[in-house]
């Protein structure tokens, strides 16, 4: 049997909340060592998909494998080898940064927690923050701490939900550089849900586009830009986000007369 090169395999994944179908039978693979973006507007199903990949949300049906491990049956075997960060979760605010990182280093079973925390503090410029309570930090500083927490165990698979949200351009750039360095050094597979198209173009070699819980397109940023006949991923994103059932008011705003995009829209080429 040939070894799979996919770090993440998703088959016919469905998530229903009552009558609402948040994820509608999506299937995709993420190649080991790649950085893949999950793109889509609000409610497209990105966070729901990431949650199911982590095993914190039970799929209605379908299959999720991370590093070849079935997440519905044996997630505890996969979790030491993966990690994630998301703006939807936080760390205890009254604990110092170093205390938070120490707790999670122990949870993951890092052999030399002090050395690992020191290395990450160096990587993300956290040295001056280590002794400060997490709750006293700015949003940007918290994001860096969360990223350090996500790298504590040296994950082989990293799921990032809006990794640079609320960061100023300078810190955002440093974080992206840190992630690039980590990927280069370790061959880590990253799946990134982001609304920052500059980030996607810089970090990702593959993009999965979601709309209303379905995969509607896929390719490298360059392929998508060419396929949609656009200049940037930002324009591709806008085209895709507005391609569905758009309310008339939004459709009017998106029309050339509405001047919402500031550029003449071109019809996307067939995928």
């Amino acid at each position: 049997m040939a070894l799979s090169t996919a770090a993440i395999e998703v088959r016919e994944l469905v998530k229903r909340y009552g009558a609402i179908e948040a994820v509608r039978g999506i299937s995709f693979e993420v190649r080991a060592g790649s950085t893949t973006a999950l793109l889509g507007g609000n409610g497209a199903g990105k966070t729901t998909t990431l949650s199911m990949l982590l095993g914190v949300l039970e799929p209605t049906s379908g299959e999720v494998r991370v590093l070849g491990i079935d997440m519905r049956r044996d997630r505890l075997a996969a979790l030491p080898r993966m990690n994630f960060t998301s703006p939807y979760v936080d760390l205890p605010k009254r604990l110092k940064v170093v205390e938070n990182l120490r707790v999670f280093a122990d949870l993951y079973g890092v052999v030399d927690p002090a050395a690992r925390i020191a290395a990450l503090a160096d990587e993300f410029d956290l040295g001056p923050l280590l002794k400060r309570p997490y709750g006293d930090l700015s949003a940007g500083q918290r994001t860096r701490v969360s990223l350090a927490k996500a790298l504590l165990n040296g994950p082989e698979v990293l799921l990032l939900d809006e990794p640079t949200a609320s960061l100023d351009p300078d810190i955002g750039d440093r974080v992206r550089t840190g992630l690039e360095r980590y990927r280069t050094a370790t061959g880590c597979t990253m799946l990134v849900a982001s609304h920052n198209m500059g980030e996607v173009e810089r970090l990702c070699d593959d993009v999965i586009m979601l709309r209303a819980g379905r995969v509607v397109d896929r390719g490298s940023p360059a392929e998508l830009v060419a396929r949609y006949g656009r200049d940037t991923m930002e324009e591709v994103f806008l085209d895709e986000a507005r391609a569905g059932d758009v309310p008339p008011m939004l459709a009017a705003l998106a029309s050339p007369q509405g001047a919402a995009t500031g550029s003449e829209r071109r019809e996307p080429e067939s995928p």
Partner: protein, 278 residues
């Protein structure tokens, strides 16, 4: 060592589970040890209640023969009650703390089993009960020369039995908070007081109406407080009462764990593990 140069300890087995429970305890210990107001508040209520009952004992002693024979009757009762109460709060508050800090998502994506998570809450419950009741016991000795250890070895059985019942209630309360959100937080403080009147903490269950006595018989706490009175008033250790209490505790603890596990499953199904919080 993995590709990033990080070496992880083994993830399965008792040692791995103990390490993860230790990490959870460390997380709560950091919080407690840096906040004197928290430690003081943990000791404050048991101590104040103990002082109240001690003065009541002094007032009633000339008129109540049983207090002449067992001056620590009420003080012993209030201290044992606080073991139950602090034991329950220790579980519920540790859980609520994770919701307040929106940390549940981080914990549940860590390689931590539900058993580890529950184990961490139970260890914290013992530590909180030890701190809270320990101070009250110390003040009982300093102010009234009453030692909880006059109960002798049965004290161990009573304390263990009561804290186990506290765990069961604490887990059930945590399950309800996970199900209904922090709006149900008040249950952490109030739920236990439903049990108090039928537990016969300060009086024998024989004073209760028949139908309430039937309910009492189902509570481990009622058997343990009856056992405490047997030791204090008659110098008799009732092993049968302790055995019944432990059998009931095993049942309720299993029920508490099952309820909490069901609440986690439901939260996992409804996608609330990542989003629950203040």
């Amino acid at each position: 060592m993995n590709a990033s140069g990080v070496t992880l300890k083994p993830q399965v087995g008792v040692a791995a589970s103990a390490r993860r429970i230790g990490a959870l305890v460390r997380r709560h210990a950091y919080l407690l040890l840096k906040s004197w107001p928290r430690v003081v508040s943990m000791a404050y209520y048991p101590t104040v209640t103990m002082v109240l009952w001690a003065f009541l004992t002094i007032y009633l002693a000339p008129q109540a023969d049983f207090l002449k024979d067992a001056p620590g009757f009420f003080i012993g009762a209030v201290l044992l009650w606080d073991i139950l109460f602090r034991g329950q709060l220790g579980v519920s508050l540790s859980f609520i703390e994770e919701l307040y800090s929106r940390n549940l998502g981080n914990l549940f994506v860590a390689p931590m089993s539900l058993t580890d998570f529950v184990g961490g809450m139970l260890v914290m419950s013992v530590l909180r009960a030890f701190i809270g009741v320990g101070f009250a016991c110390l003040f009982a000795w300093l102010l009234f020369r009453y030692s909880i250890f006059t109960l002798g070895f049965p004290l161990i059985a009573f304390a263990v039995g009561l804290i186990m019942f506290g765990w069961a209630i604490g887990l059930a309360v945590s399950a309800m908070i996970l199900r209904w959100g922090l709006g149900a937080e008040e249950l952490a403080w109030a739920a236990i007081f439903l049990v108090m009147p039928v537990s016969g903490v300060y009086y024998p269950v024989s004073v209760l109406p028949g139908w309430l006595q039937a309910i009492s018989a189902l509570l481990p706490s009622a058997h343990l407080f009856e056992g405490m009175r047997a030791v204090l008033l008659r110098g008799e250790f009732r092993g049968d009462l302790v055995a019944i209490a432990f059998a009931l505790n095993a049942l309720y603890l299993a029920l508490g764990v099952a309820l909490f596990a069901a609440a986690v499953r439901r939260a996992r199904r409804e996608g609330r593990l990542l989003q629950m919080g203040e």
